[in-house]
């Protein structure tokens, strides 16, 4: 991996033409290790992120099925639970209460961070940023490589924590101290919590390395003509996401570091007046509320770090497959910027019931509800993009429409939760679980599926099977709503989250049928993912060969040849003359006009007349 092989990637786009010829001949010998393992190529790194995320998602999904079985049929014995959880955590097929909490915790952690942050941003930012802005690679291939290897290391540590004697971290994915700080409080707060903190610290490093790279690449390596206002919405979304990550993840790191100090060095940042294990602790003066503030200062932007890339991906896919320009391109950018900005001043809505000053609560009510406005604009703009379109139902398009639906369904309940007055009665109930799974979980995972189906040909040079994609989508959509919609009603009946079983409260006895229904749909949805996995891995090796521009799309990635060449374009970099959304533009024969086509005489760019 010589230095000269990468010199071109850092060059400014205007100068690249002179050196373009050098890129034609990249036959210097790359070994298997340098090409596929310690690769600095954004395309390879993107696929590494994707495959890792798929594996993590499968683990987290199996966990969810296990704890859903426990919730629907408490006390029932399932041989497969013992088979998976082992005799220690699943003796006689009964799930241990501590193991239940560990499953819930690690399921949340993996899904939020490893699948929907690392997996989603890592895969698509890496794949699409250089491709769609017309760059040879990321600004720093080396940092990009480090980003993946930190991610993999942290994934391995997180998964390995499942196999230790005391079990994995089990204080919920939000790991509020003192529960997470005191080994006496629960077995999961022993070594499991230490591993969780180490893993997350490495994850944050990975995220920061990736995020800085994305920002720098977008700002500096756009090809000629690629003005910020001509960038596809995917790139805008990745850009804002990366900014959010760079600003908020360091706060999580400090939050985790202080917890590490409290756990192992006797400090008392988060601890005060505690009596546990039969003795009073000497730590005093700290506040667990400090942790919550630090945690949610990341935690809320994190929601948008998860969601924005999915929204960017679907903007692109809905426009392409409606064969129409995205409606309100500038409003879409504006609303993403507004969401990004507001996401930093709303974290307190997770803390209305912590005893925080009620006045502070009212400020957060105000800022939180403001987010509904740009979100509503986005939803309406998506719907208007479909209007009078000529919708091509690729599996990617189906998942994009699924995203808009879940964004609406889950978004509206956010209005209830944002209201501190109403939060008093539904805080920490299943209503919350329903809300964030639909608006964040489903939307983001639908966006991720859409992205995989849409850009699979770019990633693996082959096509995924369409019919299996249809089947996957419809079962997933039905299963997903079947799982999460009824949970609202559990919340309205007052059922708290993170209960191992509800059967100790007779008042919840007649709600068991809701839990059975939910678990039934969860199992159905899990099987649908098997269809996806078969399609994914099969198509990777044996799918139909992909043509250069299968979806008749405008963006630059489809002007690259169907081969993974170093530097993406043989010869000169493409020059951009128009925005990415000239679909079905009058005056053009075809219903798409790639960004590289020069403007005709009297032709205006984008939304300008």
């Amino acid at each position: 991996m010589g230095n000269n092989s990468h010199s071109g990637t850092l060059e400014h786009n205007h100068k690249v033409d002179d050196h373009a010829h050098a890129h034609d001949h990249h036959d210097h010998h790359e070994t298997f290790v340098s090409k596929y393992v310690f690769s600095m190529d954004h395309k390879v790194i993107s696929r590494q992120f994707l495959v890792t995320a798929v594996i993590m998602a499968v683990i987290a999904m199996i966990m969810s099925v296990i704890f859903r079985m426990q919730l629907a049929w408490p006390g029932e014995k399932f041989a497969f639970i013992e088979a998976i959880m082992g005799r220690r955590w699943g003796k006689d097929g009964l799930l241990d209460p501590n193991a239940y909490l560990a499953l819930v915790t690690i399921h949340g952690t993996i899904m939020v961070f490893f699948v929907l942050t690392g997996g989603l941003s890592g895969t698509f930012s890496n794949l699409l940023i250089p491709y769609q802005i017309g760059a040879r690679d990321m600004a720093s291939g080396f940092l990009n490589m480090l980003s993946y290897w930190f991610f993999l290391t942290s994934s391995v540590i997180m998964v390995s924590s499942l196999f230790i004697e005391d079990g994995a971290a089990s204080g919920g994915w939000t790991i509020y101290p003192p529960l997470s700080a005191l080994p006496e409080a629960m077995p999961g707060s022993k070594l499991g919590m230490t591993l969780w903190l180490i893993s997350m610290s490495l994850f944050i490093v990975s995220s920061l390395l990736g995020g800085l790279n994305y920002i720098i690449t977008i700002l500096n390596l756009r090809t000629k003509g690629m003005k910020m206002t001509r960038m596809p919405l995917t790139i805008w979304a990745f850009f804002i996401t990366a900014v959010l990550g760079v600003l908020s993840f360091p706060v999580l790191l400090s939050c985790a570091l202080l917890l590490i100090f409290d756990r192992s060095m006797g400090t008392s940042f988060y601890l005060s007046d505690i009596y546990i294990g039969g003795r009073p602790m000497e730590q005093a003066g700290g506040s667990p509320i400090l942790f919550e503030h630090l945690f949610w200062f990341l935690g809320h932007p994190e929601v948008y770090i998860v969601l924005l890339p999915a929204l960017g991906i679907t903007s692109e896919i809905i426009s392409t497959n409606s064969r129409k320009p995205i409606f309100g391109y500038r409003a879409m950018i504006g609303s993403m910027l507004a969401i990004g900005f507001l996401s930093f001043i709303v974290w307190g809505h997770h803390m209305y019931m912590t005893g925080m000053n009620p006045f502070l609560g009212s400020v957060f009510v105000f800022t939180t509800l403001l987010i509904a406005i740009p979100s509503a604009v986005k939803a309406f703009n998506y719907i208007t993009t479909l209007w009078k379109g000529n919708i091509q139902y690729t599996p990617a398009m189906l998942f994009s429409i699924g995203l808009v639906s879940s964004f609406i369904t889950g978004g509206v309940t956010g209005i209830i939760l944002a209201d501190s007055t109403l939060d008093i009665t539904i805080h920490d109930t299943y209503f919350v679980v329903a809300h964030f799974h639909i608006v964040m979980g489903l939307s983001a995972i639908f966006g991720m599926f859409a992205g995989v189906y849409h850009w699979f040909p770019k990633m693996f040079l082959r096509m995924m099977n369409k019919k299996l994609g249809y089947l996957h989508f419809w079962i997933t959509l039905i299963g997903a709503y079947g799982v999460f919609f009824p949970m609202h009603f559990l919340g309205m009946s007052g059922v708290p989250r993170r209960y191992y079983t509800n059967s100790n409260f007779p008042m919840f006895d007649n709600l068991i049928d809701i839990n059975e229904l939910v678990t039934g749909f969860a199992i159905l949805a899990a099987f649908a993912q098997v269809i996806f996995l078969i399609n994914f891995f099969y198509s990777m090796f044996r799918g139909e060969k992909a043509p250069q521009n299968p979806w008749n799309s405008n963006t630059l990635e489809w002007t690259t040849p169907m081969a993974h060449i170093h530097g993406n374009w043989p010869g000169a970099l493409p020059v951009v003359h128009r925005w990415a959304y000239d679909y079905s533009k009058p005056g053009h024969e075809k219903d798409f006009v790639p960004q590289t086509v020069p403007l005709g005489p009297d032709e205006h760019d984008g939304g300008e007349h």
Binding site: L101, G172, P177, L179, M186, D273, I274, Y275, P280, P288, R323, K324, I326, F327, G328, M353, T354, G355, S362, V365, F366, L369, A376, V377, A379, Y382, T384, N390, I391, Y393, L398, I401, I416, D419, T421, L422, I424, T425, D428, K466, Y470, W474, L477, Y481, F489, M492, S493, G494, Y499, N504, M507, D509, N510, L511, I514, E544, Y583, S584, G606, G607
Partner: protein, 355 residues
Amino acid sequence: MTLLYIVAFLLLCIALNQLFKVVELSRDLKTEKEWRPRESDNRLNGRLMLIFMVAFMWFFVWQIYRFGGDRILPVSASEHGVKIDWLLNINYAIIIVVFVITSIFLFFFAWKYYGRDNHRATFYHHNNKLEMLWTVIPAIGLAFIIVFGLKYWNEIMARDNDPNPVKVELYVKQFDWTARYAGTDNKFGIDDYMQINGSNPVGLDTNDVACNDDILVKNEFHIPKGREVVFQFRSRDVIHSAYMPHFRAQMNCVPGQVTAFRFKPTITTAEMRKDPQVMRNINEINAIRTKRGEEAIEFDYVLLCNKICGASHYNMQMKIVVDEPKDYEAWIAKQAKFRAPKGAEEKKTAENIKK
């Protein structure tokens, strides 16, 4: 047996491999690309969108009918809770209208504009008026929600004005609750976690004479109807959350900190047991319990833990009884007072010591 599984698995793999080969060979013969959506695919998925819309709305209504009737929390047993419910219902009405209308538009357009061959979409990229419209309308709706939300929030969270409220402390540890009453002086004694021991389970400062008439109860606690109850919450170990769903009341219990919430109960336990919705719900519960061979239950208010706190988080309950004031007075008079260790009473009050 294991060997058999392995052989079966290998055979399955071979069979699948052969199947795939057949599919791939036939695929190569076709000129039409398998992955490209045809008009028939678009039509099928468009229709499925419409069918899904109908099914989705039906599922929504069915759930409201099936799960949203007698099972959801009954009428609020506290004064402020009635306001919360009123606001909650208005919010539900608003979001249901928005949810139904936008979902119908989404799935209807998804069906109406499915891709036809030889058809071209309309080039329509923005409309400032339209965008202004759907920025301003949500903004107005939200302004209403914010104003009412904050009005009630300030009322509910306002400091207590009642000169003589019932003071209850909920003290929590893994995994149970203790209620403490302020006693005849209606004043809580000072606490000190260093003094926790078997005879001083909630860590009262035995130097403070105000502790001596405090009353500690477990398993159930009583509050009077029609009087302001001011709760304070303390935790011994980790964060818990005191959730009293029937009173629309909740507050975290944070170690090292005292949190508070107040409400005025308006319905006694006996009255709530006669509420038609509660009776129907309890009958449904008892039918299930009888079938399972468990004893029938009566309605009771409960206090639950609503913040993950460890292995038995799911089983931290305390019964709440709302009495008529005279029954409450009779009950409280029977409760034993906290006994400070001998000699403590002669000491000065804690205020003097801490000065």
